[in-house]
């Protein structure tokens, strides 16, 4: 094989690829924009919804309010609730005119004063989010009331409140703030980057194989003095480059987006600090190399088999699902890396990337996964090369 010819083919394919709008969109534009839109959009929406929910006034119906004058007057001044005079609370709840209805038992005040248990009924619609939230708020209000009654009763009996809490449990989160930040990234990044590495290389792979067949340029290339091996290598390297560029752009975009959105999460009280260890990013790219090789050669093989762009797309869509599902293991709690899992492609990379981003470096696993994925990639490249030599594949009719 002549490396000069491989280089000529590679540079031509790259030039051709970078002039294709579809490739540019999937390789650069989508990975740059996807994460900011996803993360900022989602968090803005969440913050907005939480704030709105906190501000929202809940119309409620109170039955027998006079039976519990103290609580009733407390409810009247509470800005979260608006007491409305509806006689048929069931229909009103169904028609969403009110969010909940309350019923105080007739002997409420008497029972509280006597030191007994009094009853409040809350009617709500669990299938309605606003009603569910209103009932939660009412719950909290009554808990606070109950607490004050208990304190009062204990005071009268001269009993210390600690009697109610013989054991005090104190939880302390020892995870460094950086780790809390990394945790978020470790969940999403492996999954996202592995999908993006595939989608970014998808259009180039189709364009360089089935696309060439469809346009009739494949035969022009085949009658040139370049060997099939040189053609395969040039095309493979171009698709691999697309895959790697997409991975780099996605990682950059995700790290920056996550970093700047963490100030927002702090607002929400999580207190996590965002930081990524450069060593983790370095290992991440090192592990992405064999993965991108594997993905590129699978994409090339499948799309080479297709006669047209459309046919290639229908072959590659199921592949996306085959990769998405195992890559999702980084989301699953309790899915830990083991020697056996280290040999399963996609799952192994997803799990080890999660660990690495959390700052745990199991060098044995990292080496093993790098090696096993490299071997799979080499096998896939070999198959692609063989397919390029088969007339039945190149000239399928």
């Amino acid at each position: 094989m002549n490396s000069k010819k491989v280089k000529i083919i590679y540079f031509k394919e790259m030039k051709d690829m970078l002039r294709d709008r579809r490739t540019l969109i999937s390789m650069i534009l989508v990975p740059i924009l996807l994460f900011p839109i996803l993360i900022f959009g989602m968090s803005s929406l969440m913050i907005k919804m939480t704030k709105q929910a906190a501000k929202r006034v809940n119309p409620i119906v109170v039955i027998g309010g006079d039976n519990a004058p103290a609580l009733f007057s407390q409810l009247k001044v509470d800005k979260s609730f608006e007491i409305v005079p509806e006689s048929d609370y069931q229909t009103a709840l169904k028609d969403k005119k009110i969010t909940a209805a309350l019923e105080f038992s007739t002997d409420f005040e008497k029972k509280i004063d006597a030191g007994d248990s009094a009853q409040i009924k809350i009617y709500y619609d669990a299938a309605e989010i606003r009603s569910e939230m209103a009932s939660g708020k009412l719950d909290n209000l009554f808990k606070a009331f109950q607490d004050s009654v208990v304190t009062e009763r204990l005071k009268v009996k001269k009993v210390d409140r600690s009697l109610l809490h013989p054991v005090k449990v104190q939880k302390e989160n020892l995870a460094p703030k950086e780790k809390m930040g990394g945790f978020f990234l470790a969940m999403f990044l492996p999954y996202m980057i592995m999908i993006m590495a595939l989608t970014g290389a998808m259009y180039p792979a189709i364009d360089l194989t089935a696309g060439e067949k469809e346009r009739g340029t494949m035969e022009t290339l085949l009658v040139s003095p370049a060997s099939r091996g040189e053609i395969t290598s040039g095309k493979f390297l171009a698709v691999f480059t697309a895959s790697l560029i997409t991975s780099i752009v996605s990682t950059g975009s995700m790290v920056i987006t996550a970093g700047s959105s963490f100030t927002r999460f702090e607002e929400m009280g999580k207190g996590a600090v965002f930081s990524v260890n450069p060593l983790s990013i370095l290992i991440l790219f090192l592990l992405m190399i064999p993965y991108c090789c594997l993905a590129s050669s699978i994409l090339l093989s499948l799309s080479l088999f297709a006669k047209s762009y459309k046919e290639a797309q229908s072959y590659l869509s199921p592949l996306l699902i085959v990769i998405i599902l195992p890559a999702m293991v980084s989301f699953l709690p309790g899915f830990e890396l083991s020697a056996r899992l280290a040999f399963i492609p996609v799952i192994n990379t997803s799990l080890v990337l999660k660990e690495v981003l959390l700052g745990t470096y199991h060098w044995g696993f990292i080496g093993l996964i790098f090696l096993s994925t490299t071997i799979y990639a080499l096998i896939a490249i070999f198959i692609t090369r063989r397919l390029f030599e088969r007339e039945q594949v190149l000239f399928r009719t």
Binding site: I9, K12, K15, D16, R19, G216, S224, P225
Partner: protein, 247 residues
Amino acid sequence: MIKTINLSKTFQDKKRGEIRAVDNVNLECQPGKIFGLLGLNGAGKTTLMRLLSTVLKPTSGTAKINGFDIISDPQKVRANIGFLSSDTALYPRLTAQETVTYFARLNGLDEDLIQQRTDELFRIFNMESFRDRRVDKLSSGMKQKVSLARTIIHNPKILILDEPTLGLDVITSRNIIQFIRKAKEEDKCVLFSTHIMYEAEKLCDEIAVIHQGKILAVGTLEKLRDTVRLKNLDEIFVKLVGEEHEF
């Protein structure tokens, strides 16, 4: 020169079984001569030419192109031929100049020679005005010129042209015919397939009639006339191929 030796190619078809697309073909094309391959659609012309260009491998037999064997030395064979067919399209996103340069580089030409050859070809084919225009913005006549430049950038001794005038307008077809004549003057060996009789009559020094993968007759037009005892090539062709193909 081109010499085929019992060259055969069979395909397996699910419905029709084994198809002998090229059946025991023995041909010889000499330098400075235009050799016409005449046949109906599906007669085996394209398969024969694909075998000679090493894109397909023969089932049995072989061919020598400029002394190189198509089976054992395919890369050298491809370096010695200029191949043009309706299936050899151009990259739409490359410019005319980039296209020709790309194939020149794949043919191992050094940069100085590439510059010299492209300048020469762009001048001869009158392509200067669209040198830096992308192929997808060119007219079909312009594209055909770029294809011709691509085919001969490495100055091959042998030209294999599979129906080069197919679907082209009169002017562009004339340009191609002129191009073929010029190649002959330059002592190149031209193998040229067509199903247009007058093209073959006008151009070819030797004609082979191919039908169902087999060569039915081969020789100069005079020789074919003598054999069949008919004057016009289309009559000779119909006689050879068999009248059952007529209405």
